[in-house]
């Protein structure tokens, strides 16, 4: 067993809004080993992005707050760190992020070179000259063509796929131990998406870092991840090795989700797709007990009263009373 770079235990993040308190992340636990890719799968509002932001210390302020649990990076507790320490010691250096939208995550008024050099200047305290030279190397590493020329260009001169490579270069410039990628491929076309997944594999092979891959796309997760954690309404409902999860999804939500996705190569005689009834719950008004109970086909009385804990069941963890 390799050592874990990240251990998250019973993490609780709340968003205090005018209309009430959203339990965005509700007792979430998972761990990531060095060199491992953990996929965090969920629909919009399931808390996957809030989990990522909690790890980065980037929760929306003042609404977002970690109210319980622990985040340990290499054994160091992060959940109580103040902002200045986070910025100086963690973000960009120990944990870095590749965000979803390559069109908005680069600053349009700074050159690509100065943006890739920014984390290097900040964390390695290099001079501007050396930082820029290193930035060129970083761009070369993520296979941006003619990097020496491209560092003086601006984001609008890059295509979506190339911008995402630039962001990957920024994120990995200081060789972080943990990389968080939040839907990095969903704004890209499929032929470009494949190229970016190859790049992520390559970067991880080179650095041995852990990767938390946040996505709603079951296909992308299957292709990239070693293990998968499925989130629903702020909680993890199932964690398993990727092959186990796709071969035999156990939680009723995971099962429904996988069954409802049309697949290439599998002949559907224009048949109907399986569909999970109902809609995800209002995060301000979660149902009592298991949040999935109102849509579940295995629901029993108990599910409406108690929320099921995430329990180890033969190599995988499942939060469900009915699945044995």
């Amino acid at each position: 067993m390799s050592t874990n770079v990240l251990e998250v235990q019973d993490l609780q993040t709340h968003l205090h809004l005018r209309r009430g308190v959203v339990k965005a992340v509700n007792q979430v636990s998972f761990s990531i080993a060095y060199g491992e890719t953990l996929g965090l799968i969920g629909e919009s509002g399931s808390g996957k992005t809030m989990t990522g932001l909690s790890l980065l210390g980037l929760l929306p302020r003042p609404a977002g707050r970690i109210v319980g649990g622990s985040i340990r990076l290499n054994g160091r507790e992060l959940s109580q760190l103040n902002q200045a320490t986070y910025a100086a010691q963690i973000r960009g250096k120990e944990i870095a992020m590749i965000s979803q939208d390559p069109m908005t995550s680069l600053n349009p008024v700074f050159s690509i070179g100065s943006q890739v050099a920014a984390p290097i200047r900040r964390h390695r305290h290099d001079t501007d000259q050396t930082a820029l030279a290193l930035a060129t190397e970083e761009l070369h590493r993520v296979r941006v063509p003619s990097p020496a020329l491209r560092i003086s260009h601006f984001p609008h001169q890059f295509s979506g796929g190339m911008r995402q490579r630039v962001i990957a270069a920024m994120a990995t410039a200081c060789r972080p131990n943990l990389l968080i990628a939040d839907e990095p491929t969903s704004a890209l076309d499929v032929t470009i998406q494949v190229q970016l997944m190859d790049l992520l594999d390559q970067l991880q092979d080179e650095s041995g870092a852990g990767l938390l891959f946040i996505t709603h796309d079951l296909g992308v997760a299957a292709s990239l991840c070693d293990r998968v954690a499925v989130m629903y309404a702020g909680s993890v409902v199932e964690t398993a090795a990727v092959t186990d999860l796709y071969a035999a999804p156990a939680h009723p939500y995971t099962r429904g989700l996988l069954a409802s996705v049309p697949r290439i190569g599998i002949k559907t005689e224009r048949g109907r797709l399986f569909s999970i009834p109902g809609t995800p719950p209002d995060p301000l008004d979660l149902p009592m007990g298991c949040a999935f109970a109102p849509r579940c086909d295995l629901v029993k009385d108990r599910c409406h009263r108690e929320s099921p804990p995430l329990i180890d069941k033969g190599g995988r963890e499942i939060a469900c009373f009915e699945v044995q």
Binding site: E43, S44, S159, G161, M162, D189, V190, T191, I192, Q193, V194, Q195, M197, D198, H216, D217, L218, G219, V220, A221, A222, S223, C225, V242, T243, Y246, Y253, G256, L257, L258, S260, V261, P262, R263, I264, G265, K267, T268, R270, R272, L273, F274, S275, I276, P277, T279, P280
Partner: protein, 313 residues
């Protein structure tokens, strides 16, 4: 039902010409679902706008149900409706659902009780509860909003509905519901769908025939089943194999094509796809290949056309 002949749509920006749609022929048959697929920038949305009369035609002709379409009159607009991608921006937040749904009929001069009658019928068809009419869009979830958008398209009892990425803005667990609804409506009302999508798994599931577009041109078209079972054009092959399958035992196939879609301002000479094509021959860089029928499929490729199909496989 809908025929397009050599449709071109060129825009001018800063003195440069964007060839958004560059000579497209399309025949959509009554009652079928015809899908247009392609990556962003391939011209599928522009083609949709042309069909709706929202973008100018530079060259070519269009006919609907046998009649040439020269002016987009009210009669045509009644028969062709559209469902947009994002139900968060396609519904007016300041109008009640009943108003949103009634507007198309008011615009076409229907009487008040005709509208009320149709409203009840359509809301039942798409599975909206009767009290939904008095609510505003923000009171609904994404899936419910898309039902409202579909209901609005149905109000005028159209023959053709254009579905522009109808499920890609929705949550994964909701998509199947909307897809099944669209299929039920087609079975019940015999509507023709033109489906525009980039999600190939969806296209395979939901369409009868498909056209694959690349940089303003159709590179391959035919029955969906045929094209997905044995794609012939190198671009179609790459596109289909690039889709990540929800099955971790299938290895990622990333060696088929490299690079990115070229610009529509200065498209490559000859075959638009040749700079990314692994099988290109000299001729591809000079002449543009026509769409040639091969079995039930039409393909535009010199390499396949030369009979050297094994090369492309």
């Amino acid at each position: 039902m809908l025929n397009l002949r050599a449709i071109k749509c060129h825009f001018q920006t800063n003195g440069q010409i964007v060839r958004a749609v560059d000579g497209v022929n399309l025949d959509i048959v009554k009652g079928e679902t015809f899908a247009l697929v392609g990556e962003s920038g391939c011209g599928k949305s522009t083609l949709a706008k042309i069909i709706l009369g929202l973008a100018p035609i530079t060259a070519g002709s269009m006919s609907f149900a046998g009649e040439p379409l020269i002016k987009f009159n009210k009669r045509f607009r009644r028969r062709v409706q559209v469902v947009f991608q994002d139900p968060y921006s396609s519904l007016n937040p300041r109008l009640k659902v009943s108003t949103i749904l009634s507007e198309p009929m008011w615009a076409h001069g229907f009487k008040r009780d005709e509208v009320t009658q149709r409203l009840e019928l359509v809301m039942a068809l798409v599975g909206l509860q009767t009290n939904a009419g008095n609510l505003y869009p923000h009171e609904f979830s994404g899936g419910q909003r898309q039902r409202i958008a579909i209901a609005r398209a149905l109000m005028l009892a159209p023959e053709l509905i254009l579905l522009d990425e109808p499920i890609s803005a929705l949550d994964v667990s909701i998509r199947a519901q909307i897809l099944n609804l669209l299929q039920d409506l087609q079975d019940e009302l015999n509507i023709t769908y033109l489906l525009i999508a980039h999600d190939l798994a969806l296209v395979q599931h939901a369409s009868d025939r498909v056209a694959v577009m690349y940089l303003g041109r159709i590179v391959e078209t035919g029955p969906t089943e045929k094209i997905f079972a044995s794609p012939q054009h190198p671009y179609t092959q790459a596109l289909i194999s690039a889709v990540p399958e929800p099955d971790p035992t299938i290895a990622r196939n990333s060696n088929l094509i490299r690079g990115e879609v070229a610009s529509a301002i200065e498209p490559p000479t000859g075959c638009h796809f040749h700079p990314r094509c692994p099988h290109k021959i000299d001729r591809c860089t000079k002449e543009s290949p026509p769409l040639v029928a091969r079995e039930q499929v039409q393909v535009s490729c010199w390499v396949i056309g030369s009979g050297d199909l094994n090369v492309a496989k």
